[in-house]
C-alpha cells in the first residue's frame, strides 16, 4: 500500500487562450522520493512547475499539499508552506554575495514588512541558516564571493542553497543542470543525491544520465498530458516512452 502523498495533483489543467499546456494531470509525489518529470520541449513541464509553485493559477483541477488544497494560492504563501523552487533561468541576486543571497532567502518566512524594517540586514539566526545552506551545497569557502563573479554552475548551486535556506520540505527544481558543463553537472547531481536523503525533490531535467541516477519515480509528459508514470526501472523499460521520447 502506498503512503499518503506529500503533494498531489488531481485533474490539473491549464490553458493559455486556445492552447492547453497542461491537460488533466494527476500525479502523486511521495514524501522522501526524488520524482523526475520528463518530456520533450513543449510538453508542459515548466507550466506544471509554475502551477505547483503558485506562479500560475490552474484553469481547473486541484493541488494538495499535506492533504490541504493549495491551488489558487499566491506563490509566496505556497513557498511559506514549505514548497521551495528553483528557476530554470538562474535567478540569484548578482549584486549580493553568496551569504547575503542566502540570508535574503532565509529571512523570507521570518516576520513580514514591519519585522524587516526593524531588523538589521544581518542577524544571528539568519546567518546561521544561510551558512548551513551554503555548507550543504559545498559553497562554504565562497561565502563572501559576489554572486555575479561565480561560474554558471556555481550560480546554479547557489540557487539551490537559497531554496534550502528557506527550509522547505519539498523542492521543485526546474532544470538545475541546464546549460552547465559535464563536470559541474556531475557536481550538481552529487549535491542533489545528498539532498535526496532529507528532502522530497521534484525534478525537471533533460539530462538523462542524471535523471536515471537520481530519480526513484519518473513521470513522462507529452503535449500536456501524462504519458506514463512509474518507478525509474519501469519507465526505462517502457517501449512507449522509448518511442515517444527516449528514442529521439
Amino acid at each position: 500500500m502506498t503512503p499518503t502523498p506529500l503533494l498531489s495533483t488531481h485533474g490539473l489543467t491549464r490553458s493559455f487562450g486556445g492552447l492547453v499546456a497542461v491537460n488533466n494531470v494527476s500525479i502523486d509525489f511521495q514524501p522522501g522520493q526524488v520524482h523526475a518529470i520528463l518530456g520533450p520541449n513543449g510538453a508542459g513541464k515548466s507550466t506544471l512547475i509554475n502551477l505547483l509553485s503558485g506562479e500560475l493559477p490552474p484553469s481547473s483541477g486541484q493541488i494538495e499539499f499535506r492533504s490541504q488544497g493549495i491551488h489558487g494560492q499566491a506563490a509566496h504563501r505556497i513557498a511559506r508552506l514549505g514548497i521551495g523552487r528553483s528557476h530554470q533561468k538562474t535567478s540569484i541576486f548578482p549584486r549580493l554575495n553568496c551569504l547575503h543571497n542566502c540570508e535574503l532567502a532565509a529571512r523570507a518566512n521570518m516576520g513580514g514588512v514591519w519585522g524587516s524594517m526593524r531588523s538589521r540586514a544581518t542577524a544571528r539566526e539568519v546567518t546561521d541558516r544561510a551558512r548551513e545552506a551554503l555548507d550543504e551545497c559545498g559553497l562554504a569557502d565562497q561565502v563572501h564571493t559576489l554572486a555575479s563573479a561565480m561560474s554558471y554552475g556555481e550560480q546554479r548551486q547557489l540557487q539551490i542553497a537559497m531554496v534550502l535556506a528557506t527550509r522547505p520540505s519539498l523542492m521543485l527544481l526546474d532544470e538545475p543542470m541546464a546549460g552547465i558543463g559535464r563536470e559541474e553537472s556531475q557536481q550538481v547531481t552529487a549535491l542533489l543525491k545528498r539532498l535526496s536523503d532529507q528532502y522530497t525533490l521534484v525534478l525537471i531535467e533533460h539530462d538523462m544520465d542524471s535523471v536515471f541516477a537520481l530519480a526513484e519515480h519518473i513521470t513522462v509528459m507529452v503535449e500536456g498530458s501524462v504519458l506514463e508514470s512509474g518507478p525509474t526501472a519501469a519507465i526505462r523499460a517502457s517501449e512507449q516512452v522509448r518511442d515517444v521520447y527516449l528514442g529521439r
Binding site: A79, H87, S91, F93, P94, A105, V113, R118, S119, R120
Partner: protein, 353 residues
C-alpha cells in the same frame, strides 16, 4: 544597490551642506540685495529635493516608474490649504500629522490599484490617477478652481505660549526645510540599508524570485508606495507654505515628469543623487529662464540629451568617473549601439526574454 560610496561623494555632499548652512554668512557679500530672492529660490530647491528623494525610493530602489507622484505633492498642498483656518495660523503639531495621514490613506488606496499592474501599464495608471486630483481641484469650486487657494498664515510651531520657530521668517523656513530634507534622507537611507531595503532591492532585480522565496512582494511594494507618497506630500505642504497658495499646477503631471527627471539626472537608486538632480535641474531652469523666454525648448533638449548620454546621472559620474582610456578603448571597438551597454534594470530584461 551600492551602499558605500567613494569618499568624493561624501566630500561633495558635505560641501554642499556646509554652503547651505552658512548661507547667511556669505550671501550678503556675494549676492547683495538679491540675497532675499535667492533664499526663497534655495528653499524651493530643498523642497524639490525632498520631493525627488521620495520618488527615488520608488523609481530607483523598487524599480517602479511612477508618473503620478505629483498627486501626493498636490495633496499635501491642498490638505494644508483646506485645513487651514481662515484668519489664524494652524499649529504644525496637528497639521503635519494630518497631511501625512491624508496622503498615507490616498497612497494606500491608489497603491492597491496601481500595484496590480506593472511595466508600461503601471506608468499609465499612475499618470492617470495623478491627473484625477488635478482635474478635480481645477474644476471644483471648493478648491478655488484653476486659481487655486491662498494660504494666509504659515503653520505655527509653539510649545505652550512660546514660539519655537517662526516659519514666516524666510531664513528660519529655509533651515526648517533643510532639516526636514536631512531627516527624510536619513530615514530613507536607514530604511534602504535595513533588511526591508534589501527585499526592495530583490524585488527590483527579480520579483518572481522573491515571491518564490516566500516574500509577499505586494506588501513591500505597497509600503514603499505609501512611504514615498507621505514624504512627497510633506514636500507639497512645504511648497504651498513657501508660495502662499495651493495651485492645480502642483498636482499636474508635468510636475511628475519634472521630478522624475530630477531623479534620473541625479542618478537613481542612490538617494543623494536625487538631491543633486533637484539642484542641477532647478539651476539649469533658472539659467534658461534668464537666457530666453522659450526656456522650455532648452529644458526639453537638455532632458533628451541627458537621457541619451547620461543614463546613470550625476551620481553615476561620481561613483564611476569616466576615464579617458576606457573611452578610447570603447571607441576602437567595433561599433555597438552604446545604449545596449547601459545596465538595464533586471526586472525589465527578464520580462522580455
Amino acid at each position: 544597490m551600492l551602499h558605500t560610496y567613494p569618499t568624493r561623494v561624501w566630500i561633495l555632499l558635505a560641501t554642499l551642506l556646509l554652503v547651505l548652512l552658512t548661507y547667511p554668512l556669505w550671501s550678503p557679500t556675494l549676492l547683495g540685495n538679491q540675497s532675499d530672492f535667492f533664499i526663497e529660490k534655495l528653499t524651493l530647491i530643498l523642497i524639490m529635493a525632498l520631493f525627488a528623494v521620495s520618488l527615488d525610493l520608488l523609481v530607483g530602489v523598487v524599480g517602479l516608474t511612477s508618473l503620478g507622484h505629483a498627486l501626493f505633492f498636490g495633496l499635501g498642498a491642498y490638505t494644508l490649504a483646506l485645513a487651514s483656518p481662515d484668519f489664524s495660523a494652524p499649529s504644525l503639531w496637528w497639521m503635519l500629522p494630518l497631511v501625512m495621514g491624508v496622503s498615507a490613506l490616498a497612497a494606500l488606496l491608489v497603491g492597491i490599484l496601481v500595484l496590480r499592474t506593472s511595466g508600461i501599464f503601471f506608468i499609465m495608471t499612475t499618470l492617470a490617477f495623478g491627473q484625477m486630483l488635478y482635474f478635480f481641484v481645477s474644476l471644483s469650486s471648493a478648491t478655488g478652481g484653476s486659481d487655486g487657494m491662498f494660504i494666509m498664515f504659515r503653520p505655527s510651531v509653539t510649545l505652550g505660549e512660546t514660539v519655537l520657530l517662526d516659519l514666516g521668517n524666510p531664513m528660519t523656513f529655509f533651515y526648517f526645510c533643510l532639516v526636514l530634507l536631512l531627516a527624510s534622507y536619513g530615514f530613507l537611507r536607514w530604511l534602504t540599508r535595513s533588511h526591508y531595503g534589501q527585499v526592495l532591492d530583490g524585488i527590483h532585480d527579480n520579483e518572481d524570485r522573491m515571491r518564490a522565496l516566500g516574500y509577499a512582494t505586494f506588501h513591500y511594494k505597497l509600503t514603499a508606495f505609501v512611504i514615498s507618497g507621505v514624504l512627497a506630500s510633506v514636500a507639497g505642504m512645504l511648497a504651498a507654505m513657501q508660495y502662499g497658495f495651493a495651485n492645480p499646477a502642483q498636482a499636474e503631471w508635468h510636475l511628475s515628469g519634472v521630478v522624475l527627471m530630477m531623479v534620473i539626472l541625479g542618478g537613481m537608486g542612490t538617494l543623494f543623487g536625487a538631491v543633486l538632480g533637484a539642484f542641477t535641474y532647478e539651476l539649469l531652469q533658472f539659467l534658461f529662464e534668464h537666457l530666453t523666454q522659450h526656456w522650455q525648448l532648452l529644458m526639453g533638449l537638455t532632458i533628451i540629451g541627458a537621457v541619451l548620454v547620461l543614463p546613470k546621472g550625476i551620481a553615476g559620474l561620481l561613483i564611476n568617473p569616466p576615464s579617458l582610456t576606457a573611452w578610447r578603448r570603447q571607441r576602437s571597438r567595433p561599433r555597438v549601439s552604446p545604449a545596449l551597454e547601459v545596465k538595464v534594470p533586471a526586472a525589465t530584461t527578464q520580462k522580455e526574454t
